[in-house]
């Protein structure tokens, strides 16, 4: 059984205009993703491709006007999309840990960090305060926070960005989750701190054998720290496979463009840099969503592209995947 199995997940932003005319932005269109224990999957794509929205849809963290309108998310065989808020609360923070982008504004500014760690542990387990406390200190030690006994009573505003991110990782791991979702865990951190945090994350993921999703727009991070990569475009996963295969032989034209857009490659003046804009989510084109930006686009692309599995095992959503 897969740890996480996302099938045809669809999330729309539903707006009602003043005359009650219903408009929908189709932000996620049939996202499919499988994840096994101990696997690290990177989700890459440009801003607005639906990376964070995928994470929020999985955990039921969407707020109106965003709404899941179709598909299924099976976590250990359990359908998450139909769970009530209270049942989801038993899973979030316990079996699914989450690391978010803005650690300093995400921590509760009015609670000492040690108390926040204790709080998340006691919310999900029946352990005594002394047990939770020693667990929190051990976890702070594990994520590389120096002098955890002293930092236990620190306020969030007293931490640096890197320290706050370590606290968030400690929070996510307090209840030893089976799935870890890290939504741009290192955006806004120094490059050196970034490397430390990611090394730490990878190390902990291996140790706890968690399935992990890392959301990022940094291809370097994916290449270094992930086993698999899912490339998102306009709310679709256009290509999914192992990092080695996709970086060596990208199957989707968009992936090729994306890989060619790294600063190093652009300096070499290689052809195929990313031009144009993602499509209008209110008014998606018929057929392939990337047809307006694709150099290979032909009449065939007006029909929905099939998902083709290459001999390497990577799946590509394109008419021309085999060429």
């Amino acid at each position: 059984m897969n740890l996480l199995k996302i099938t045809d997940l669809q999330t729309h932003f539903v707006f009602h205009d003043i005359d009650n005319y219903r408009r929908e932005a189709r932000a996620l269109n049939k996202v499919n993703l499988n994840l096994n224990r101990g696997e690290i999957v990177g989700i890459v794509g440009e801003t607005g491709a639906g990376k964070s929205l995928t994470a929020q849809s999985i955990c039921g963290l969407l707020r109106p006007p965003a709404k899941v309108v179709g598909g299924s998310v099976l976590f250990l065989g359990k359908e998450l999309l139909s769970l009530a808020e209270e049942d989801l609360n038993d899973i979030r923070g316990a079996e699914i840990g989450m690391v978010v982008q803005n650690p300093k504004s995400s921590l509760d500014p009015l609670t000492r960090i040690g108390d926040q760690l204790v709080r998340i542990h006691q919310t999900h387990t029946a352990s005594a305060i002394s047990v939770a406390r020693s667990k929190a200190i051990a976890m702070m030690h594990a994520v590389g926070i120096p002098d955890p006994e002293k930092r236990f009573s620190a306020w969030p505003h007293e931490l640096s960005g890197g320290m706050a991110q370590r606290v968030l990782i400690a929070m996510a791991l307090m209840n030893e989750p089976k799935l870890l979702i890290a939504d741009e865990p290192t955006t806004g951190l120094d490059v050196t701190v970034q490397a430390q945090i990611l090394e730490l994350l990878k190390d902990l993921v291996r140790r706890f054998e968690m399935g992990t999703i890392i959301i990022t727009h940094d291809l370097g991070i994916v290449a270094h720290y992930c086993d698999k990569v899912a490339v998102m475009f306009a709310g679709e996963i256009v290509e999914y496979g192992t990092v080695t295969d996709i970086f060596r032989r990208p199957g989707h034209p968009y992936t090729k463009q994306l890989l060619a857009s790294t600063p190093e490659k652009l300096k070499l003046n290689e052809a195929g840099s990313l031009g144009g804009q993602p499509p209008d989510l209110f008014n998606l084109p018929e057929g392939c969503l990337s047809q307006d930006r694709c150099s290979l686009a032909s009449d065939q692309c007006r029909t929905p592209p099939p998902v083709i599995t290459l001999e390497t095992g990577q799946t590509v959503r394109c008419h021309f995947a085999l060429q």
């Binding site: 989801l88 038993d90 923070g93 316990a94 500014p109 919310t123 306020w155």
Partner: protein, 325 residues
């Protein structure tokens, strides 16, 4: 910070009252006075001196704690203001207390389910509270509850004339009556308090509801609450987080609300013949009582400073990010 502010307030009120075209001499002398009597009174009051000299004399006296004498009551303004401050504070305390006690929970509840039925209903009610003129509300309340129903005492003061007021301890007849176990006085004070307090509470609760709702909604939309949800915290814990993170802006708002309500206060006091500072100030303005008006405005300025000081201290205590900690 406070000192230059107060000097400015003294100067501006002094000047505004002088250029306002009020002439207390005419009011004091009466219609039959001769020209000699006019000059005499003018000289007696020091109004024949140049303006700058008048200001210096006044400023010097204010520094010594002498706000001058009221030309109407012939008593020191400071004395008038001190006794009447307690009378007003009683009304303000219960009024804003009740207003906040209603407004904050209602605003929070409305924010927890935005656009729900509760939110819709309270939105209409608070809109009413916003738009009803205070004095009209007071008059209607008196008309209904005193004249028509006879449930409330007439709007004439803080305690029945038949009841002797309790000894001064806190300045509140209700509390003082309870302290000396004078149930008759406490009861009378309570019945007299109800209508004006209700009036003030309605007027103050409306903006508190609106503001609390907006503040709480902003907190609910914050990274902190989104992350707290991602941690699977219980709904009770989430609400506690929302409440605690809203506390600082709500307290600050209630503080500004209190200082803004003193104007409204004088109208309510007038309608209910409360006899407090607001009514005193309003009277002084109408009658052209220079010194009393100046003393009144200065007291209000000091009061605002005091309220903001209290707000700052409270915030410093509950807020770990403040420098005090």
């Amino acid at each position: 910070m406070v000192l230059p502010l107060l000097i400015g307030v003294v100067f501006v009120t002094f000047m505004l009252v002088r250029v306002g075209g009020l002439d207390p001499v005419g009011l004091l002398a009466g219609p039959t006075a001769t020209a000699e009597e006019f000059t005499m009174i003018r000289k007696d009051l020091g109004l024949d001196q140049p303006l700058w000299k008048q200001f210096l004399i006044y400023g010097g006296q204010v520094i010594q704690g002498d706000l001058g004498e009221s030309w109407l009551s012939n008593r020191p303004v400071l004395e008038d203001i001190t006794t009447r401050s307690f009378i007003s504070l009683e009304l303000l305390f219960w009024g804003i207390g009740l207003g906040a006690a209603i407004g904050i929970p209602v605003g929070l509840r409305a924010a927890f389910k935005p656009n729900g039925r509760f939110d819709q209903v309270t939105r209409i009610i608070s809109l009413l509270g916003f738009s009803i003129p205070t004095y009209w509300l007071g008059l209607v309340m008196l008309f209904v509850f005193f004249y028509l129903l006879g449930w409330a005492p007439p709007g004439m003061g803080r305690i029945s004339l038949m009841v002797s007021p309790p000894q001064f301890v806190t300045g509140s007849y209700l509390i003082d009556g309870l302290i000396e176990a004078n149930w008759e006085a406490a009861n009378s004070a309570l019945t007299h308090l109800i209508l004006p307090v209700l009036c003030l509470a309605i007027v103050s609760a409306a903006p508190i509801i609106k503001q609390t709702r907006a503040i709480a909604l902003e907190v609910i939309a914050s990274d902190t609450v989104r992350y707290a949800r991602a941690c699977g915290l219980k709904i009770k814990t989430l609400r506690a987080i929302v409440f605690r993170n809203s506390a600082t802006p709500i307290i600050t708002f209630v503080g500004t609300e209190i200082t803004g309500l003193v104007g409204t206060m004088s109208l309510i006091e007038y309608v209910f013949a409360w006899g407090g500072l607001g009514q005193y100030g309003l009277n002084a303005i109408v009658r052209g009582d220079f010194t009393a008006v100046q003393g009144y405005v200065l007291t209000l300025a000091l009061f605002s400073v005091l309220i903001f000081l209290i707000v700052d201290i409270v915030v410093a205590i509950i807020e770990p990010r403040s420098q005090l900690n």
